[in-house]
Symmetry: C2
Subunit: 213 residues, 2 copies
């Protein structure tokens, strides 16, 4: 195994607590964060289905936010909406992540394989001190997970074969899609993630420290 690819939202960072804080910063109810995240898969699906050309996650997050604000009968000025969308660029890492990634980086190439775009991934890495070797994922493939192109393009960009790479995620549907194109898989349990059906990952861990072992 030469490289580890990581899901980010939920797996590396606690989007729920962070975005509840962001909502409150703009005088909005914290439960907006969860309602907003519920718009995530439907908005990605507009791209996966071909209904919309590939646009980055800031665009899809803003569309989702507008829908949630309307549904909750709330309003927010455009400048604040833009700034709130940028909240997804400043999410707190789970407590084990920075130390775990730093250690894993000594042995493996580590990179996000996220549905976040390059700018979001870089800004988040600066904020949360995630020591990535490269930024891979949706933007280089112009597709959204679990579209197999996202995993394939990420592996190809590293000049590796799929079985030399392990996908790490807190969502089994992400791992199932990665396994289908030949990657190894590691499931990490995270609070409130993974509503999906069971999947036998090659590795299972409670956090990145255990993953290391």
């Amino acid at each position: 195994m030469r490289a580890l690819l990581f899901d980010v939202f939920g797996t590396c960072v606690d989007w729920r607590t962070s975005m509840m804080r962001e909502a409150e910063r703009f005088g909005l109810p914290p439960q907006l964060a969860v309602a907003w995240r519920d718009e995530y898969q439907p908005q990605l699906e507009t791209v996966r289905s071909g209904q919309r050309p590939w646009v980055n996650l800031d665009v899809l997050h803003e569309i989702g936010l507008n829908r949630v604000l309307r549904a909750m009968d709330l309003t927010l000025p455009k400048a604040d909406r833009v700034e709130l969308v940028r909240g997804w660029h400043r999410l707190d890492p789970w407590p084990d992540v920075v130390a775990g990634l730093t250690r894993l980086k000594e042995t493996f190439i580590i990179a996000p394989c996220s549905n976040g775009h390059i700018a979001q991934s870089v800004n988040l890495a600066k904020f949360a001190k995630l020591p990535w070797d490269a930024i891979l994922g949706a933007e280089i493939a112009h597709a959204y997970k679990p579209d197999p192109r996202v995993y394939r393009e990420s592996v190809y960009a590293l000049g590796l074969e799929p079985d030399e790479v392990c996908m790490v995620a807190a969502h089994r549907d992400d791992l199932r899609a990665a396994a289908a194109v030949g990657l190894q898989t590691a499931f990490v349990e995270r609070f409130g993630e993974d509503p999906g059906p069971p999947f036998d990952a090659d590795f299972v861990a409670h956090d990145f420290e255990e993953l290391l072992r």
Copy 2:
């Protein structure tokens, strides 16, 4: 200024000394390194001119190596040629680079904007301990510098405007092309680099420590 983009070959790493060492490792005369580098621009030009579709630098390096070996009346088994091409993934940094980049990273997003592809850039960063925030450059644009698309796509990937980004290079033609699309520019003098005509960069430094100041 929010981000610094770096040329790599010659600016961050001493390809000359490193590739002379690689040539000797395969029983070849060290001057092969310089003759091989002389094939660099002509091979890039086959892509820039549209004569060849975009292929990565390993492919162009192997074509150049085969030409140089023939011209010097030398032979090398295929497996050794592949391994020698991989020599461009393990080049020594100039002495000021790792400390300089580490300090610059505290304030700016730092990324290569090189003609090297993602796999080469990642492997080189692992070897030379270059602490990049992201890997940008030729592969994300499917073009080769000084094609303006390489600078534009790298700036766009960061979600920034061109004047928020500074291109750092030891070659004035690289800086001239970056300036033409609106980037700020910093010239760093390196031994044996920059045979090009003069260009007034926004910043001039002898090394990355001076650049920091």
